[in-house]
């Protein structure tokens, strides 16, 4: 198992390195125009452009440029010139509590409801509950996030004034934190609830036909135990894969629209601003930030996998 962990961590670091090289190439080498000019912003004077050239190492060789830029990003010295000379790393760090609150809360909702609905759907496959949940899931999957957010805001904050309209409140005021986040959580989670319940349903229906489920019944286990311990347990593997990918992606930028619509000052909103301003250093830093979370959660998923399916442990130690 230790070998497995080490192998995966080394793999993750290698992937992150590859991503950083790609990001570097895409932002600094591929475009034909002077990168320093783009970094300095639209209204830059020649002096500023020259400073940026020095700071980012554009007067040196490509490997040195890469090294200089990564050092800037990872030591928290990268400055945005388009957005009032703010420190980008500082802004990303400041945005993390809001983004994490949004994403973790939404993930708890979508995982628990997705698994609950998928389970109910599968054990009553073909019945009325299943059909109703299927329709609900399709509605959830089909609803555009911006539309759902507008509808929720209109009814719950404007019409019946149940929840405050927008913004983010820090966790130090748990009540306000919760009431400000409930609508964004729902908005972000609905799509995933629909999707996960469908995936779990079909995965469970497959597993129900497995021989070991028949064995479990033949040993006299109760129906619930067969369903939970054998069917659900084995059906969670594809859900874990999806979750790792989705959660990493949501933290790393997937929540942009939700943060924007509810005016939550997280990493997503910062990204949206950066994109609007064509603020390249910020976009680069955010891309690295997103990549980090996606790789991190994929690695965690691999560990969860090994826990859920012992055959995977063997597969790697034998390889």
């Amino acid at each position: 198992m230790l070998r497995f962990v080490v192998r995966r961590v080394v793999g993750a670091v290698a992937v992150l390195f590859a991503i950083s090289v790609l990001v570097f190439l895409i932002f600094n080498v591929v475009p034909a125009t002077n990168p320093a000019q783009r970094i300095a912003g639209k209204n830059a004077n020649p002096q500023l452009i020259e400073n940026v050239e020095k700071e980012w190492g554009f007067d040196k060789s490509l490997p040195e440029q890469y090294w200089t830029q990564m050092k800037l990003i990872f030591t928290g010295q990268v400055t945005s010139y388009s957005q009032a000379h703010i420190n980008i790393d500082q802004r990303i760090l400041e945005g993390i509590p809001a983004t994490a609150s949004l994403c973790i809360g939404a993930a708890i909702i979508w995982l628990s409801l997705g698994i609950l609905f998928g389970y109910l759907s599968a054990i009553r496959a073909g019945g009325l509950t299943d059909r109703a949940l299927t329709v609900l899931a399709l509605v959830g999957i089909s609803m555009p996030v911006f539309w759902l957010a507008s509808i929720l805001l209109y009814y719950f904050t404007y019409k019946i004034e149940l929840f405050p309209s927008n913004g983010y409140e820090p966790l130090s005021h748990p009540g306000r934190w919760f009431s400000h986040l409930i609508l964004p959580w729902i908005t972000l989670a609905v799509l995933f609830v629909g999707f996960y319940s469908r995936v779990l349903r079909s995965s469970m229906l497959d597993v129900m036909n497995e021989d070991y489920v028949r064995t479990a019944r033949a040993k006299g286990l109760s129906n619930r135990r067969v369903m939970v311990r054998h069917v659900l347990r084995n059906s969670l593997i594809p859900i874990i894969t999806l979750f790792g990918l989705d959660f990493g992606a949501v933290i790393g930028g997937g929540a942009i629209v939700t943060e924007y619509l509810f005016n939550i000052e997280g990493v997503g909103l910062f990204t949206a601003e950066a994109l609007k301003q064509q603020d390249f250093p910020s976009i680069m830093a955010v891309a690295m930030f997103g990549a980090f979370f996606i790789v991190l959660f994929n690695t965690l998923v691999d560990f969860a996998y090994a826990y859920l399916d012992p055959r995977i442990r063997l597969g790697t130690s034998a390889a």
Partner: protein, 357 residues
């Protein structure tokens, strides 16, 4: 459901049989209509006996076995007839009542040991689960110790170490042993083995059969052995049911079936067996054609389209009757006279189905 002479059970021993299956019919609703997978099966099983149910794929032998412990219950299935364990009716029991019978009184092992154990739990844990499902007062540690003992009893070396292995760390033969150990955990009185050796290679087959035989003799474990392999039957069975298209076409003792088979289908099965004690045939004989679709059974005898000895009376459904005056416990469904059968089944000095040249 009246008990006609056709369905009259084989004479019961004193105090009634351990397991009695009476006029069991299992139908499944499918998109193409109702499939009568099992159509009136009767048999009895005494303690310590090995009953073999033989037939091709689709003959209804596995469905019969699974119906005994209620595994075929579903909204699409229709089950009639009676299954009694020590006189107690099982077909009308609730799912919860049946759960207490499954595993603890009737254990079942399956064809493919590769897929019959859950890959994500250790072998020991799956045995512990079976024990604790029926005896919740048994602690985990105690059940674990029992699991080790059981694995040792079925011939798994170093059971203390192997008990914590996952199924994929076991070989096929060991997995089937583990399945048997799990089946034995609650000391059931009946073991249903559904093609227990089909997925194993020949040397392992023999070991598993010997294990089943030892358990049968040593513990008096009544066994229903489902198989399509007459070689397996010859090794261990006391009595044999031959099934075809959902019906029993012949039943008798092992010697009846092997030395005096009455039904042409049985001749065909015996003829396709390679035997080392007979001259080698040019080509291994086979039963021509395929089993009939259960949706469109031929009228009369279901074996008629494949039988070279068909005659006028085969258009009527034959009953399962004792047709040999000297042997009332040997039943079959073929209308030929015993003399005709004796004459027709000998092909080139051995039992076979082919038309005499």
């Amino acid at each position: 459901m009246s008990v006609t002479p056709e369905t009259a059970p084989v004479t019961a021993g004193a105090g009634g049989p351990l397991l009695a299956v009476e006029n069991l019919r299992v139908g499944f609703a499918t998109e193409d209509g109702r499939v009568q997978a099992v159509d009136g099966v009767n048999f009895e099983l005494e303690a310590g006996e090995v009953l073999a149910i033989v037939g091709e794929s689709g003959s209804g032998k596995s469905v019969t076995a699974q119906t005994i412990i209620g595994l075929t219950r579903s909204p699409n299935s229709h089950i009639e007839g009676s299954v009694r364990l020590r006189g107690e009716e099982l077909t009308t029991q609730s799912e919860a009542q049946l759960q207490s019978v499954r595993g603890s009184q009737i254990a079942m092992i399956f064809q493919d040991p590769m897929t019959s154990l859950n890959p994500v739990y250790t072998v020991g844990r799956q045995i512990v689960e079976a024990i604790r499902a029926h005896h919740s007062q048994v602690g985990r540690k105690e059940a674990h110790a029992q699991a080790i003992e059981l694995l040792g009893a079925v011939g798994i070396p170093e059971p203390e170490r192997r008990v914590d292995d996952y199924p994929h760390e076991f070989s096929g033969g060991m997995r089937q042993r583990a399945m048997i150990a799990m089946g034995l955990a609650l000391e059931p009185s009946v073991l249903i083995a559904d093609e227990p050796t089909t997925a194993l290679d020949v040397t392992i087959q023999a070991q598993i059969l010997r294990l089943i035989q030892d358990l049968n003799r040593g513990r008096g474990l009544a066994t229903i052995l489902i198989t399509h392999d007459l070689g397996v039957v010859a090794e261990v069975a006391d009595r044999v049911l031959v099934m075809y298209a959902g019906k029993v076409v012949e039943q008798g003792t092992l010697d009846d079936i092997f030395y005096d088979p009455q039904h042409p289908y049985t001749w065909g099965l015996l003829g396709s067996l390679t035997r080392l004690d007979r001259p080698r045939p040019h080509r291994l004989p086979q039963i021509s054609g395929a089993p009939p679709s259960l949706l469109r059974l031929p009228s009369g005898c279901a074996f008629r389209p494949r039988c070279p000895h068909e005659f006028a009376e085969c258009k009527e459904v034959p009953g399962l009757l004792p047709r040999l005056p000297e042997d009332p416990n040997h039943l079959d469904r073929c209308q030929l006279t015993p003399e005709q059968k004796r004459r027709l089944r000998e092909v080139e000095g051995r039992i076979g189905l082919e038309e005499p040249a």
